[in-house]
Each structure stands twice: as C-alpha cells, then as structure tokens.
C-alpha cells in the first residue's frame, strides 16, 4: 500500500490550478480530501505522476443562500456542510447526507466537489445531487459553464467534465414551502458506502404531488434517476399507497452490481424499500 512516485504541487487559486493542469496535462490529478484518490493510489490502481492540491484554495470555499439557489464551494468539506446553519435551513438533506458519510476523519477531509467529480457508484451525494436537480459550475482556462445534474454523470467513475475543467461550486435549490427532500441509505457494513441509497425530492400543491425527482446510488454502476418511479408519484396524493406504488417502480430499468455483501437481487429489492423510505420522508417534509 505504497503509491507509485508522484510530484506534488499546491495551487493557491483556481486560476493557478488551471495553469498547473495545462502544464502537466493528462498525467496530473486534482486532489482535495483525497479519500477516494489516495486509497486507489496506494493499491496502485491509480498512478498519476502529478498531484495538484486544491484543498487550500480559498476560491473554492464558501456557502451562500442566494434565494432560490444554495451555492456551496466545491472545496467545502462534508463536515462544514453537515454543520452549516445555512445549509440546514436552505436544503436540510444536503446537511444530513454529508453528516452520515464515512466517519469523522473522512468528513473532515472529504469535499463535495471531489465526491461529485469522482462519481463513485456508491457515493451518497451523487444521488442527492441528482434528486435535487442541481448543477455544478465548471471552470476551465476558457471560461466557466454550468453542467446540470442530469448531464454530469456519464458512466461509472466518469463525468461530463472536460480534462481542463475544475468544479468550483455546487448549486442546489433552496427548498421552498411545499417541497421536501430526503435520502435513505443502506450502509455497506465494511466501507459504510451505500449498498443502496435513494434520494427523493418532491413538490406538493393542494394535497397532491406536482413534481418528483428520485435517484438511486450504490446499487448499480452509476447514480441514476428513476423516471418510472417519479411519474407514478406525480399527480398522486402522496399517501402510503401512492408511495408504495411509486417505490415499486424504482430500480426496474437499471443495471445492478453484486458483491459478497449484497447480491443484485437483494439490491433490487432494497431499492424499492429505500425508495419508499426516502419518498415518505420527503413527502412528510413537503407537507410540514
């Protein structure tokens, strides 16, 4: 568990990081918390020749409620998000999800930008981000652009980010009256990653569900929206029967992974169970 040799450079700003990325090209990797990258390097599954450390970059910090949007700097740690009064008030599911990632050490170092850019199939935030319908701000030498949640995750461990881009901020909606969002997770007993994680966001009006976004992580090769589940819920009154009917449609058309802890069959069943839990919690919040 000794990584291959690499060079280490520390960026002090996003601009400097972008220059360093151009200088070092494809051999370079950005590192913030390092909780996904370093284990892979120690097993020599990943052997970047240069690490560009962006953990201390001030431009990547900051949490702000902009009215409709909650903007979180990509370099904010899970711990900072979990304990932020602004996040708790604006979009509680982000705080509660971050507060249940890994352990204290992981939460003190791991960052939201790192998690979304890595796109681990069992990460928690990928599903929450999808369900919230957020976007990331991606900056490159030639400017910045927004990438919507539905476009960000391309395949296992692969995102729509270009080689020269850094995620600088994560934008998620500030939940309004009549909206609710929740995340329910079956933890892997060894890694505490999600064996199955389901995130849901619902909007309700006049006693019925007007919109729903549901995403699953952990069970398959990438975090995915659950269109059939969402469609089944919209227009319903969101009661237990409606939740059950919608949850049963979750996970019906996705690929699954299996391991010694949970087979594909078990994950398929648990997607429905945890979809129901996430939906119930989101609806209860929307009604509150």
């Amino acid at each position: 568990m000794i990584p291959a040799a690499f060079k280490y450079v520390k960026a002090s700003s996003v601009a400097e990081a972008l220059v360093l990325m151009q200088q070092h090209g494809e051999d370079a990797k950005l590192i913030a918390g390092g909780h996904s990258l370093l284990p892979a390097m120690k097993l020599r599954l990943s052997q970047p020749s240069v690490l560009i450390d962006i953990a201390g970059v001030a431009d990547l910090k900051g949490i702000a409620n902009k009215g409709n949007q909650l903007v979180i700097g990509a370099g904010e740690t899970y711990h900072a998000i979990a304990t932020s009064a602004v996040v708790k008030q604006a979009c509680g599911v982000m705080a509660s999800t971050c507060g249940d990632i890994g352990d204290i050490q992981v939460r003190n170092a791991g960052t939201i930008g790192g998690s979304l850019a890595h796109a681990d199939p069992a990460a928690d935030l990928t599903a929450v981000f999808l369900a919230l319908g957020g976007s990331v701000t991606a900056q490159s030498a030639s400017g910045s652009r927004a990438i919507g949640a539905d476009a960000l995750f391309v395949s296992m461990l692969t995102t729509a980010l270009d080689a020269g881009e850094i995620i600088t901020a994560i934008n998620v909606p500030v939940l309004q009256r009549g909206q609710g969002a929740a995340y329910a997770k079956l933890k892997h007993p060894a890694s505490r990653y999600a064996i199955v994680g389901v995130a849901a966001m619902v909007s309700m009006s006049g006693g019925s569900v007007t919109s729903a976004r549901v995403a699953v992580t952990g069970a398959g090769p990438q975090a995915e929206r659950q269109a059939a589940c969402e469609a089944a819920l919209v227009g319903s009154n969101g009661d237990a029967t409606a939740v059950k009917a919608a949850a049963d449609k979750a996970g019906t058309s996705m690929d699954y992974l299996g391991d010694i802890h949970a087979s594909e069959d078990y994950r398929r069943a648990m997607v429905k169970v945890y979809a129901a839990r996430a939906l119930s919690a989101a609806i209860a919040q929307a009604r509150a």
Binding site: A5, P189, D259, A262, Y266
Partner: protein, 785 residues
C-alpha cells in the same frame, strides 16, 4: 517508601498505566523504530493460490537505483523452514511449514516469492513491480472438507488428501450406541467461518546484525519474544540462542496473530547478516490480511442425542479444520486439543466423541485467534443445545438447566482428555442473566410482538472455556513442544522501589497495570513504586509470553510467588535486626514485626536499604532482596458464564438490531474491574462481529475476496450495542490469586449468543439454523422465500 499502610489495589478499577503514553502518540510501536543505516524490505507475493514457479527474473528490479539486493527463496536455503511447535496427537508425518520465501511452488495468494531490500520503502515497493515471475498455475482447493475428496488438488507430496491431522477424543462406541438408541437425535452442519484477526497495528520485523560478535537484534511486534528467540535461533538459523536478542516494542493488539514465527522475521535477519545493515519490514494492511495468520475455518457435522424430557445423552462430532497452505506455529493443537476437548461445554454429557480432520488448503495459514478453538467449541455446543430444545419444544433455559454439570461434581472430568474443570457453578450465572433481562416477561413480549409482525429474538449462551493452559507435563502429552510455565523476578532496590521482570508482557490488554496491582498488595508497597519490565529478552527471565488468557493466572501467579519468597527473606532479616526468632515475625502492610508488637516494626524500605547495602548480613544470607519463580500451574482454569442477547430482525430488509446484550461472566477473582470489563467489551465485540459481520472469503481460485477493510466488515462502535456486564465469582482453586482469565471469555461466549437470538427471531419462518455471519441479505432471503 513510606511505611504507611497502602490501600489494597486488588479489586480497584484504576486506569491503565500504559495508556497516557499510548493514547497521546508517545508510544513506540514497531514502525516508530528507526535505526542508523536501516534499509527497507518489500515482498513480492504470489498472485496465484497455487502455482509452480518456472523462473524468476530479478535483474530489472536489482538495477533500479536505490535497490540494494533482491533475494528469492533459493538464496535462503542455508536456514531451515519455520518450525511447528505443536504437532498435536494424530499428527501425520507430513509437517509442511513455510520457508523464508517460497521455493519452486507457491501455495496461497500472498505466499512470499522474492524480497527486495532498498534504501527506502518506496523504492523497495517500486522494485517489486519490476520482478518477472513465470508461474504455471495449478489447481486450487480452499475448502477444508473438499480438500480431502478424491481428486482434490494436492498441496504437498507427503500429505495424501491434504490431511495433516486425524485426531479424535471421547468414547466412539458408547457415543455411536447412544446416538443410535436415543429417542431424539438432531443433526446439523455447522460452519465456523474463517476470520482475520485484524490487530490495529500490523506485524513486522526489524533485524540488526553485529558482525564483530555475530549477534542479532530483532524488533518485532510480538506476544512471545522469548519463544521467537528460541525458535529463530535453535530451530531456524542453527545458532546459539544467546546470539539473538528479541525486543517487542509497544504492541498494538495481537489477538493471537503475534504469537507465531513468520517468514519476515527470517528474511530480515538473513538479509541483515548478508548485507551488514539493519533491515526493516512492516507489513501493510493488505499483507496482514493475505499473509499473517487467520482464525477458525471449521466445517462440522454434528449430532446431538437425548431424551424427550431434555436430557442430553450423546454428542457426535466430525470436524474438518482448514489450517491453510502450511502449518503455522501452533495450528494443529488449536484445531484439536483447544477445541475438541471442551466441546461438551457446561453440560454433563455421558457419551461424546469427536473426530477432527485438519487439512491443508490453498489459503493463508490458520492459527490461534482470540479464543483459539474454544469459540468454535462453544458455538457448536450452544447452537446444538438450542437446536435440541427447539426440537423438543422446550425452553432453551430449561434444557440448559437439566444438563448443567452440577456444582457438587467439581473438579469435573468431561471425558475428553482434559484435566478436570477446576471449579464452576453454572446455574447462578444463568439465573442472574435471566433476572437482568426479566426473561419471563420478555418471552411474553416476544409473543405479543410476533402477533404484530415484529420479530424479537432471545439468544442464550452458557459457556465454559480453558485458560492458562497447563501444566507443562499435560501439555506435552498433547504434543505441545515446550513449556507452559511463566517466569517472574521481583527485586527491591536500595530505595525501596520494586522492579519486576517477567517473560510475560502486555500487548494491549493492560496487564502491566494488573501486575503492578498484585505485586503492590502482596508486598504492601504503593502501586506507584512497582515497575514492571518486560518485552525484551535482554533483562527478562525466559518465559512463554501472553496468549490463551494466561498472563495473569500464570505470569501473575509467578509474581505473587516471588513476592512471597521476598517476604520470607524480609522476615528472616527483620528477625535478625529485632533480635527475635524468625518464626515469631509477621509481615503485614509493608512492615515486619514481632507478633503482638507491631509498633516495633522494620519497614520493607528499611529492610531493603539494609539488604541492598549488605554490610552486615546475618547467617550467610546473601545481600539484596531478589527472588525468581518459574511457575507451572497444576491445571488450567475454566472461566464460565451466561450471555443473553435480545435482537430484533426486520423482515423487510433483513437487518438485525441488537437491542440488549447482557453478560454474566465468572472469571474468578477480579483484580481490576475496569480492565476486565474492557477485555469483555472487546471480546464480545469480536464474537458479535463473527455472528453478524466478519467473513474472510476466498473464491474458488483462492483469491481473497475480503482482502481490504472496504470488504472485510470489522464493526465500528456505532454497529455495536452497549454491554450490560456483571459477574458471579467462583475463585479458581488452581492459583493463589483465585483468578481464571478474562482475555478471551467475551469472544467465546458471544457469537452463539447473537446467532441463537437471530435464529430464535426467525423461528416463525421455520428457521432452525443458519450459518454465520447473519447478514441482512441472508435473512432477507429467508423472510422472502
């Protein structure tokens, strides 16, 4: 030293004296040791579970700048293979132990093939990737039973059907007759899965060689420094024992894994001598999982026979025990004596017979892991007693009661070749545990909840185990190749400070504190004035180390005996100074005085000063207060207890919640309740981990699927319940402290306690047995059949 009476230390829950250093980062663990000129070793380990090595090309690795040397197994043929110190009875003449590195054939994933020595650890690791090995893959077997099947791959030419040991105990004919004639017979296949001990600190070695004197020094994370010295010199290197000093720095947990000799000790010493430089090798977690010892790995067919009124009349067992690709230091004895001789547990069973077939498989070596044989035994009998009770429709507590060895029958011979159980009284521990959980009411609650579709389970485990295995003569009869006594030297210096040296040592369990408590009380000196020195073969008397819950019962007793010898000498010297007859001198509270005249006393401090100066010793007495004891106990000790757990199983997901865990443990007299509780907490956690989480899995190709902490589920605190621990106290008559041992009891009592509860919860689904670990998916499969 003051003469004031000290408060008794025995029985006090004082904090561990080891901890301030260890928990503030000031400890000195193996990897903290850095020597001038030290070079670093890395090992190329086989990616195949079984393969012939056609060729090895080390030239590219050797050419990497910073690489000092690259060695393969054939370079090290001038030293012997590692010894096996416990070839148990029934042992076939096919002792296959590892060499420093594999030669010609690799037999498990992780088997060492080459070692690189380099200027730093990074270069050493880089060089590993530059070694080319041409392997010819061979067929693989990982299952201990399948290894014996006709046509199974053969690991060693001298071991037909891969059998190492065919061992049996008990009464075969009587048992066959009892099973054949019993009104009720329940048969089950019970798997005790392979586990990985996972000490927080991994293993390793640092070796230094002094060419001018031909002397080695070896630092290694060890539970038995003197044994390592003996085995490495007399058996492996063929050099005088005095040419090696072994030092165990602070040891970050062992759970048995650090008792044994390992190839890294050998190649570090070998290379240090060859190169004239200190060599350091510290395994990483992946290597610890792949190549250091594992535990358990039993597959057992068992029948329990009895009457309709709940009397057990027979127990017939056949166990296949996987020992891995080679024999580890004491592996054969763990699978036989430490398991097979205690399979009747706390019950009086008139007819019992057990066969153990221990086998080679293409897996890491299996050896003693916390409990070592006794967890497998208590799991087996406690599962089968529950199984028997379920078959009869009888309450499991009632079946236990009807079969407990009565307190009047101690010392008790269980008919399996142990010395008699020393003392025991099993019903009070059960009663206390039942009262704690309010059993009758709990069963009613369980029934009420079931009616609502909720599944509560109550698990009971009444266990007994073997600690402080002894005497040596008996152990030798079991094939154990050495002693099982322990040493302690106690001396009192001029200033009255007490120094104790011992062959035993702490390895994370806190025994340094416990030792100081008992010596302080025995001599009537302040606890702070007692220094315990250990873990270095230079400066401590030969001893066998720390394992098998023996440190206090055996090592602690040696200290008590040395302290008592010192008191005798103190009395003789006091008699001289007080001009009295030695027979009239009493010793109490650190003072010697003429009976009836305690005000005219000589304090221990005064006597120590007098004896240390030694200017006017009477009657040929030697100066100084210094006594040594080599204590070989007359018997093992047999701690026992009852654990009860309450779980809820959630059919929708298969999740298990442990709602309560009650343990009533009888470990004899308790010296430090805080340390005993700490040991029980950790022990229970490890048994619970086996029941619910941990599973070392090899696939059919011999790849270790659970090879990282991302896959091997060691529970964290949030996955474990609070423990409600209490005691009954039945002092052991074996030793003067009346102690039995507490290091392994928690583990031995707990796995079946949880499994019995889970299976009880699932009984409405028709479940009578399931294999560990009881994962959510397994339970979900049952609830969704």
């Amino acid at each position: 030293m003051t003469a004031e009476a000290t408060k008794p230390m025995i029985g006090r829950a004082i904090k561990r004296r080891e901890d301030p250093k260890l928990i503030t980062g000031h400890g000195n663990f193996l990897d903290d040791v850095k020597l001038t000129g030290m070079a670093h070793a890395a090992v190329l380990r086989s990616p195949y579970a079984h393969a012939r090595i056609r060729s090895i090309d080390t030239s590219k690795a050797a050419a990497l700048p910073g690489v000092i040397a690259v060695y393969v197994g054939k370079d090290m043929m001038d030293v012997n293979p590692l010894p096996c110190a416990w070839p148990a009875g029934g042992f076939k003449n096919n002792l296959n132990t590892p060499r420093a590195l594999a030669v010609d054939v690799v037999r498990y994933v992780g088997d060492g093939v080459a070692v690189v020595v380099a200027e730093d650890r990074y270069i050493a690791r880089d060089a590993i990737d530059l070694i080319d090995v041409d392997y010819e893959p061979l067929a693989v077997v990982v299952d201990p039973e399948k290894a014996t099947h006709p046509g199974a791959p053969q690991l060693h030419e001298n071991a037909p059907n891969n059998v190492v040991v065919e061992w049996s105990a008990g009464n075969r004919d009587g048992t066959n007759a009892a099973v054949a004639s019993a009104p009720v017979v329940v048969k089950e296949r019970i798997v005790n899965q392979r586990l990985m001990p996972t000490p927080m600190e991994t293993r390793g070695s640092i070796a230094r060689y002094e060419s001018s004197t031909n002397e080695f020094t070896l630092w290694t994370s060890s539970q038995a420094p003197h044994v390592h010295r003996l085995l490495l010199t007399a058996f492996i290197f063929g050099i005088p024992e005095t040419k090696l000093r072994v030092i165990a720095p602070n040891v970050g947990g062992g759970f048995g894994q650090k008792i044994f000799v390992y190839p890294d000790m050998v190649f570090c010493m070998w290379a240090a001598r060859k190169l004239g430089r200190p060599i350091k090798y510290v395994e990483d977690r992946s290597e610890n999982f792949k190549a250091s010892s594992h535990g358990r790995d039993h597959v057992t067919d068992v029948e329990i026979a009895g009457t309709r009124d709940g009397k057990i009349t027979g127990l017939r067992i056949k166990t296949y025990a996987g020992l891995g690709a080679y024999l580890s230091t004491i592996a054969p004895g763990v699978a036989t004596t430490l398991y097979g001789r205690i399979v009747t547990g706390v019950y009086k069973i008139p007819n019992v017979h057990i066969d153990v077939i221990a086998t080679y498989t293409n897996t890491a070596m299996v050896d003693a892991y916390r409990g070592a044989g006794r967890p497998e035994a208590s799991y087996l009998i406690e599962r089968m007693v529950d199984r028997f009770a379920a078959e009869l429709g009888m309450d499991p507590t009632e079946v236990r009661r009807r079969n407990f060895i009565p307190p009047t029958e101690f010392p008790y011979d269980n008919g399996l070749g142990l010395l008699p159980y020393d003392s025991g009284n099993y019903a009070p521990a059960l009663d206390k545990a039942l009262a704690t959980i309010n059993y009758t009411q709990l069963r009613a609650e369980q029934a009420a909840l079931r009616a609502q579709g909720r599944y509560l389970g109550i698990g009971i485990s009444s266990y007994v185990e073997i600690c402080g295995v002894a005497p040596t003569a008996w152990a030798n009869g079991q094939g154990w190749g050495a002693g099982l006594w322990e040493s302690a030297n106690v001396r009192i210096h001029l200033t009255g400070q007490v120094v104790v040296t011992t062959g035993s040592l702490p390895h994370g369990q806190g025994v340094e504190t416990t030792f100081a408590q008992i010596v302080a009380d025995e001599l009537g000196v302040p606890y702070e004035n007692v220094l315990i020195e250990h873990s270095d073969t230079a400066g401590t008397p030969f001893g066998y180390g720390t394992y098998g819950s023996r440190s206090l019962a055996v090592g602690g007793t040696a200290m008590v005996k040395s302290a008592r010898k010192i008191k005798e000498k103190v009395k003789r010297l006091a008699a001289h100074l007080l001009e009295a007859n030695p027979a009239d001198i009493e010793f109490a509270d650190g003072k010697a005085f003429v009976k009836g005249s305690p005000d005219k006393a000589k304090t221990l401090g005064e006597i120590a000063l007098y004896a240390s100066v030694g200017a006017s010793m009477p009657n040929g007495e030697e100066p100084f207060l210094d006594e040594t004891t080599y204590y070989d106990p007359p018997n093992c000790t047999f701690p026992f207890g009852t654990h009860i757990s309450i779980v809820e199983v959630f059919p929708e997901t298969g999740a298990v919640e442990v709602k309560r865990y009650v343990a009533v443990d009888d470990v004899g007299n308790i010296i430090n309740p805080l340390i005993v509780h700490g040991q029980l907490h950790g022990g229970i956690a490890q048994g619970m981990a086996q029941a619910l989480y941990e599973n070392a899995v090899y696939d059919d190709n011999g790849q270790l699927i659970s090879g990282t902490l991302m896959d091997y589920a060691v529970p964290n605190a949030a996955m474990l319940p609070d423990y409600e621990i209490s005691h009954t106290v039945t002092p052991s008559p074996v030793n003067p402290l009346g102690v039995k041992g507490a290091g392994e009891a928690g583990t031995i009592g707990s796995a079946q306690c949880i499994m019995n509860a889970v299976i009880d919860a699932l009984s409405p689904f028709g479940v009578r047995h399931m294999q560990m670990p009881a994962t959510p998916e397994k339970i979900w499969q049952i609830t969704h059949k």
